[in-house]
Amino acid sequence: MTLLRRLQSWEGFLLAALLCIIVMNSILSPQFLTVGNQINLFQLSIEKVIVALIMTFVIINAEIDLSVGSMMGLSACAFGWLFHQGVDPVLAVVICLGIGALGGALNGWFIARVGLPSLVVTLATLIGFRGLARVLVEDRGITDFPDWFDALGQQGFLGPIPFALIAFVVLFVFLWVVLQRSGFGRKTYVIGTNREVAIYAGIDTARHKMIIFTASGLISAFAGLLFAARVGAVRGDVALGFELDIITMVLLGGVSIFGGTGTLMGTLLAILIVLNLRNGMALVNITGHIQTGVVGMLLIASVLVPRIDLGRLRRSKEETA
C-alpha cells in the first residue's frame, strides 16, 4: 500500500464520517440543514479554522506553532488599543497585520536561522505575545469600534454569507493550490519528510521555514481581527487556548505530527467534522464538556491509526533488508 493510497483512505474515512454525522444531525434536528444553521456553525469557529489552514503547512513542515492563539489575542488587543489612541482604524488594521508578520518572522528566525526547536520558541512567544496583549489592554474590555468594523464581523457580506467565511474560502483555495500544486508546496513536503535531503538538493530550507512562520503570524493576526469584529469587543484573554483546538483539527485531518504527510483537503474535512459534530451535539443538548471529550477521542484515533500502519511498514522493511 503506497503512502498516497493510505492518505486517500484516511481522507475517505473522514468523508464517510462526515456524511454519517450530517445524516444523523439532520435526523435529530430539522434545524440542522438550514442555511442559517450552517453559516452559524462556521461563524462560531471561523477564526480557528482559518488559522488551521496555515497550521497545516507548519506541521507538514515538521514544525509546530503554539503561538497562534496568543498572536490572535495580541492582534485583537493591539487593534483595540490603537483605535482608542485615535489611530485611524484602517491604519490600525494594517499595523496589526504587520505585527503578525513580524511576530511570525521572529518565530521563524529563531527556528530556521538559530536552529532552536519550534516547540520551545513558540511556547516562549505564546507567553510573550499574550503578555503584550495584556499589557496593552490591562484588564479592561475595549468596545465601541466603528460600525463598519462590527458589521464586517456580525452581518452578511455577500447575501447572508459573512466576510470571514468568504475569507476562509478564498484562503483555502489559494493555500490549496500552493500546497498541492506549487513548487513551494512540494518543498514543504520534502523539508518535512527529511530536511537533510532538501538541503542536499539545494533547497534553502531556512528561508522556506521563515516564510511559513511569517505567514502563520500574519494569518493569525488577521484571524484575531476577525474575532474582534465578530465579538465587537476585545479583552486580554481573546483566543486564549485556541492553539490546541487548531492543532487538533489539523492532526485529525491526517497531517502527521512528524511532518511530511497530510493534505489541506484532510484538514478541511476534519474542520467540517468537528464543527458538525459539535453543532449536532449542541442541537440535542449535549454539553460542551462531553463534546470536547468526543473530539479528543477522535484525535487519539487519528494519531493512532496511521501509527499502526507505520509500525507495520517498518517491520516489513526490516525483513526485506
Binding site: 503506497t2 520534502v190 535531503v197 539545494g202
Partner: protein, 512 residues
C-alpha cells in the same frame, strides 16, 4: 585456504573461541566458517578491508547478532548470547571509535552509570574510591570528580574502558579506538591495551593503522570476505604480507578497466584545499572525460572533501578553480548552479525522501525548471522526466507514483542518480555509488558513470571497494586521515599499492 598454525598460546585454554561461525543477512553472507581463539593476556589484532566482516564478528561476540551456524565458547563451554547483557555477564565488553559518555556527569558517575543495585543514596565516597582504583588499574591519571564534558576523546575512551572493567571484563574488544585520536592520545590508548593484557584480559584490537598493530599486538588475524585467512604471531608478519592477505583477490576478477576518455582540458583544479578539523593539503586536477577515484579507509575524510566542493561544509583554506574561474561554494544551491552534483553515500538519510513518489524525488534538485511563471508544477513535464529516466536507467517499478521507499536498494540508487543526471551536471561526485547494491545494479551504475564521462563530464568517485576503484579510476587519489597520500595513474595502481598508501605503510614522496 589453510590457516597457518598459530604460535603457542600464552597460557592454557582460550577464554573466548569462535568455532566455524557463519552469519548471513538475507542473501548476503557476512561471515563464513569463521574460527578464532582468544587467550587470556594477549592483544589480538584483527585486520581486514572495509566490509571484510570485522563488525559482524564483533557483534556476534557481544551478543548483538546470533550466528546462523557454529558455536561460541567461553572457557570451553558453548554459550548462546542473546544480547549484550548476556555478553557482559560472560565478561565480554566492547568499546568503539565514538565513546559514549554522559557529558553532565562526572567521571565516577560515568563509570558506574549502568551499575545496578547501588541504591538511590549511594555511598559517594566508596564510589569514588572504586572509580579511582579502576582508573589506576588502566594506568591513567584522571580526576574522578571531573565533569565528562571537558574530557579529551582518549580520556573518554578510558572512562569507557573503566566502565567495562567495573563489571569484571575478561575479553575487551576495542573497535578502531584510535581512529579519531591524535598520535599522542593513540599511544596512551595502546598503553592501556598493554596494561590490561598484562593483567590477564584478552584484548581484541581492531585498527586500520597498520603501524600500531605492530606496536601493540601479540597476534594478528587477517579476515577477508567474511573468511578467516590467517592468524600469526606479530613477529612473523610483515606489512606487505599482511596487506597481500587483506586484499587477496585477483585484480580484474569482477571488473575490467574501460579505456580512458580523459581530454586535455582541466575542469576542476583544487590547490591545497583544507577544512578545519577534517582534512588539509588536497590538490588535484580533474579533466573533462576523466574519472578520478578517491580511495582510503574509513576515517580518511574523503566525504569531507566532497562536501567542501559541494558547499555543505565550505573549505577553510586553499583554492578551487572551476572551469577556469575561482570557485568557493558556501551552499549546495551554488554548487548545483555551477553544475556540480553530489550523489550521497547515505541515500536513506541524505539522498531520497523515501515516503515520496519516485516522480517527486527525481525532480527534487531541478524543481524550479518545471515551474510555471506562477510557481506551479508542470505535472505533465514532471511525469515525462520521470518516465524517461525509468526507461533509460531501467528502474524496476510499477509506476513513477510509487514511493521510493518501496524499491530495492539498487533501484533507489538509480532514482537518486536520476535526480542528479536531470540537472545535467558537468561534475558528478559519487560517494560510494555501489555500496549495498547487488552485482547487476553495480554494473549498471558503472556503465552510467562511464557514459557520463564519455559525453564530456568529469567524475569524482569515492569508493572503498578496491576492485571498483581499479575498474573505474583513470587516476586514483589515496587519502589517509585527512591527508592526501598520493595520486596513482591507473597503470601504476594495484590493490597493494593503494592499500599501502591508505594504511600509511608508505607514502608517495612529492606526489601532487
Amino acid at each position: 585456504m589453510t590457516a597457518p598454525v598459530s604460535a603457542p598460546p600464552p597460557s592454557a585454554g582460550p577464554v573466548l573461541a569462535l568455532r566455524h561461525i557463519s552469519k548471513s543477512f538475507g542473501m548476503t553472507r557476512a561471515l563464513s566458517d569463521m574460527s578464532l581463539s582468544l587467550f587470556p593476556g594477549e592483544v589480538h589484532a584483527v585486520v581486514g578491508e572495509n566490509g571484510a566482516g570485522k563488525s559482524t564478528m564483533i557483534k556476534i561476540m557481544t551478543g548483538v547478532h546470533q550466528p546462523s551456524s557454529g558455536t561460541l565458547e567461553v572457557d570451553g563451554v558453548a554459550l548462546r548470547l542473546s544480547g549484550t547483557k548476556d555478553a557482559r555477564q560472560a565478561g565480554i565488553a566492547a568499546i568503539y571509535q565514538e565513546p559514549m559518555v554522559f557529558p553532565d556527569l562526572d567521571v565516577a558517575e560515568n563509570i558506574f552509570i549502568s551499575a545496578t543495585g547501588l541504591g538511590l543514596v549511594q555511598n559517594r565516597a566508596a564510589l569514588r574510591s572504586r572509580a579511582r582504583s579502576l582508573i589506576d588499574r588502566i594506568g591513567m591519571t584522571l580526576d574522578v570528580d571531573r565533569i565528562a564534558a571537558g574530557l579529551t576523546l582518549a580520556e573518554q575512551q578510558a572512562v569507557e574502558i573503566a566502565r567495562a572493567l567495573s563489571q569484571d571484563v575478561r575479553v575487551l574488544i576495542m573497535d578502531e579506538p584510535t581512529a579519531s585520536l591524535s598520535d599522542h592520545e593513540a599511544t596512551q590508548l595502546r598503553q592501556i591495551a598493554r596494561t590490561l593484557s598484562g593483567q590477564g584480559v584478552a584484548v581484541v584490537y581492531i585498527s586500520h593503522r597498520l603501524e600500531e598493530i605492530f606496536d601493540v599486538a601479540d597476534r594478528v588475524t587477517v579476515i577477508r570476505d567474511g573468511q578467516h585467512i590467517s592468524t600469526r604471531p606479530v613477529a612473523e608478519v610483515t606489512p606487505d604480507g599482511m596487506i597481500g592477505e587483506m586484499v587477496g583477490r585477483e585484480v580484474g576478477n569482477y571488473f575490467t578497466k574501460a579505456p580512458s576518455h580523459t581530454r586535455p582540458e582541466v575542469m576542476l583544479s583544487v590547490q591545497n584545499l583544507g577544512c578545519a578539523d577534517a582534512f588539509e593539503g588536497i590538490s588535484l586536477d580533474l579533466h573533462a572525460g576523466e574519472v578520478l577515484c578517491m580511495a582510503g579507509l574509513v576515517g580518511a575524510r574523503r566525504t569531507d572533501v566532497a562536501l567542501s566542493l559541494f558547499g555543505i561544509q565550505p573549505a577553510t583554506s586553499g583554492q578551487v578553480a572551476w572551469l577556469g574561474q575561482p570557485f568557493h561554494a558556501t551552499s549546495p544551491a551554488q554548487a548545483i548552479e555551477a553544475g556540480i552534483a553530489y550523489v550521497s553515500e547515505d541515500r536513506r538519510k541524505l539522498g531520497l525522501a523515501l515516503p515520496m513518489a519516485i516522480r517527486a524525488n527525481i525532480t527534487l534538485a531541478t524543481l524550479n525548471a518545471i515551474l510555471s511563471r506562477l510557481g506551479l508544477i508542470d505535472r505533465a513535464a514532471e511525469q515525462g522526466i520521470a518516465e524517461s529516466f525509468r526507461k533509460r536507467l531501467n528502474i524496476r517499478t510499477p509506476d513513477v507514483e510509487t514511493s521510493v521507499g518501496m524499491l530495492s536498494g539498487g533501484n533507489q540508487q538509480k532514482v537518486m542518480l536520476a535526480k542528479w543526471l536531470e540537472m545535467r551536471p558537468r561534475l558528478l561526485i559519487f560517494d560510494e555509488p555501489t555500496r549495498g547494491i547487488d552485482v547487476g545494479a553495480k554494473a549498471e551504475v558503472h556503465d552510467l558513470i562511464r557514459t557520463f564521462v564519455k559525453e564530456g563530464g568529469a567524475a569524482l568517485v569515492i569508493s572503498s571497494d578496491l576492485p571498483e576503484v581499479l575498474a573505474l579510476g583513470d587516476r586514483i587519489l589515496v587519502m589517509r586521515e585527512g591527508r592526501q597520500m598520493g595520486i596513482l595513474d591507473h597503470d601504476d595502481a594495484t590493490q597493494e599499492t593503494v592499500m599501502r598508501l591508505a594504511t600509511g605503510a608508505t607514502s608517495l614522496k612529492g606526489a601532487a
